[in-house]
Symmetry: C2
Subunit: 375 residues, 2 copies
């Protein structure tokens, strides 16, 4: 019997423009664009839509092969025909976040008032602002209620915010490797990244568009990020103390170790695809995130939530450790919300939600199926 | 009864010059200075000398009040009359490491061949080179055998190196929060610090002496360091999400959180007391450290060791985690070496050996006393 080859899913980005958006800071952006992709087909009842929410450096290209770049999406191993988010059953949507640099309005976008990029005149944004803009996108697509909102890391924060801010619009929420609030350590790592960018003279108070970007500062920031995304174990397995293209120490400051080479490569590669000012604004939004703020208890934050939840964390994730997911679970159970929780064993650290997807796939496939059946 | 006040121990730094030193790289330094301090009195048998080995950013001023600056030493809570390293009983020595910037020859020292600072023409050094220079200091002081060598972090690596390189000269070794070899993650954090410095245009290939130093790069490097020295728990306890001098978010890129303010302060404060090139050389020495290199097993590294050991780690130290201390213990026990091990409970992370000293004091006091009695 011949094995049937599944043709690659070629996808194109869409952009929709909205007149304006009001922000938590009191500022207003007008107009505001959202870049998004969709996969699968919306059913007649409009009941099979799933919104995927990307992490810090992600974009709208979550799945399939980009018609423009030929590259697979950042969660292509999770979204597609027969995959965890099965595009034969579900209509999957992913949009670039507000403040981003991949099609959605952000600091590198042109300010219509001046004809120049916003740069640091872009207003400070929050996770709640990102979600408010996504709601406009969902309304635009004619979807009243999402079967699910799902994402890892900052995407998980957005999933939580969705369930709280739009309780009528979310049937199920899947926050993965996420937290109710950024901790001091999480803020600290972000602050180091910001300071590395700001310290680069090429940053020039944010005014580097059309000129030399703050490549060195942004690369250092990204290097810090990569260390926090991996685990001590996964770095040992991947690099150990292996030397790079040499059999003894160089006794100089060129690359000696594989891990140094990897970090320098990932740092410089990032510069070609990410905007330094977006780095500042999006990390700030994460640091501001505290779903419990203004509530007497964490549980009170979920007072109006109607969604059911699947909360996932990873054993070796020290950036968003399991105890933070357990705080989400405790808060939800205190409100008697339907919540399932799994800590998945993985050596991959925080990156696990992107790369270690076999067991994650089983969990999510079953959870989505039972949610869909119950409708 | 009046409580007797113990007068503060006022200490002065000494500097000794040696003709030359040969380095692991094959290079030679001539001459080479060592800055050191001593506390207590060497007994007639010359049998009560303890060498204290400082960590990355430490110096020779380990205890007492500096006559020059009026400041207490970096381990003053551990060294002094009646303290863990009891200066009523022991003669305690501490020297600044080779490559340092606090009196011992390093990249900021004048190269006699040129009359200018070495800068990046300073040879790359290793932990073993540091120890070779300390041996010269000990010989100079007329001490054949040290009762103990002790230190935390990089100081612990030196203590291990001492016990291996000079087995006849070490009665007891106390490596605290240390490791047999730097791991990929430890190398990675150091590499980020180095890249932050090198990325600063004021670094200028290392030639900034008499000019503007690479203050921004060095500050970012130090910020990364401080995060790794603390624990998630201790950062939560110390800062949480507390805002700095405000009761709501600023919605700008000034300091919002206490933890941001702390990191910026510690970063800029470090610039006034540390040389950026020393940062490069000393972190490289740590990354090169692998006591097991060239041996079939970790145990084989300790083949000639005659010292007894007290190995200490701290429960919340994720930079030099307990498993690394346990590797030391396993290697020593495989050679039937006398070794005691304790993991002390502490929330302070890697900083614990500097600040959480009550139980550490009990352990060390008893271990030193029994070592001294057995002589």
């Amino acid at each position: 019997m011949m094995k049937k080859t599944i043709p690659p899913m070629i996808v194109e980005a869409n952009i929709v423009r909205f007149d304006e958006i009001s922000l938590d800071s009191g500022a207003r952006l007008a107009p505001v664009d959202v870049a998004y992709e969709t996969y699968g087909v919306l059913n007649e009842a409009r009941s099979n839509a799933i919104l995927i929410l990307h992490a810090f450096s992600g974009d709208a290209h979550a799945a399939g092969i980009s018609a423009e770049t030929g590259k697979p999406g950042w969660w292509d191993n999770m979204i597609g025909p027969g995959k965890a988010f099965d595009t034969n059953k579900y209509f999957v949507i992913c949009g670039n976040v507000l403040g981003g640099c991949r099609g959605t309005t952000g600091p590198s976008s042109i300010d219509p008032a001046t004809g120049c990029p916003y740069a640091m005149s872009f207003p400070v944004i929050t996770i709640s602002d990102m979600v408010r803009l996504q709601k406009k996108l969902i309304d635009h697509l004619g979807i009243e209620r999402l079967l699910a909102v799902a994402g890892g890391s900052m995407g998980g924060m957005q999933a939580l915010e969705w369930a709280v801010a739009y309780p009528e619009s979310v049937v199920a929420a899947l926050p993965i490797a996420a937290t109710l609030r950024h901790s001091a350590q999480q803020i600290a790592f972000n602050e180091v990244g910001r300071q590395a960018i700001i310290a680069d003279p090429d940053w020039n108070e944010g005014n580097y568009y059309g000129r030399k970007p703050p490549a060195r500062g942004l690369a250092v920031a990204r290097m810090v990020g990569h260390i926090t995304y991996m685990s001590d174990d996964s770095m040992r397995e991947k690099f150990g103390r292996r030397l790079r293209n040499k059999d003894h120490f160089g006794y100089d400051f060129d690359v000696d170790f594989e891990v140094e080479s990897y970090l320098r490569y990932r740092g410089s590669e990032f510069v070609s695809r990410f905007d330094a000012n977006s780095y500042l604004y999006i990390t700030k939004a994460m640091d501001y995130f505290d779903l419990t703020s203004g509530h007497a208890t964490a549980a009170a934050a979920f007072e109006r939530t109607k969604a059911r939840f699947l909360v996932i964390s990873f054993s070796s994730d020290w950036l968003y450790p399991s105890y933070q997911s357990l705080e989400i679970v405790r808060a939800l159970r205190s409100r008697n919300v339907d919540v399932a929780y799994c800590e998945l064993p993985s050596n991959y650290g925080h990156d696990a939600f992107l790369v270690d997807v076999a067991e994650q796939t089983d969990l999510i496939r079953g959870f989505l199926a039972s949610t869909f059946e119950r409708l």
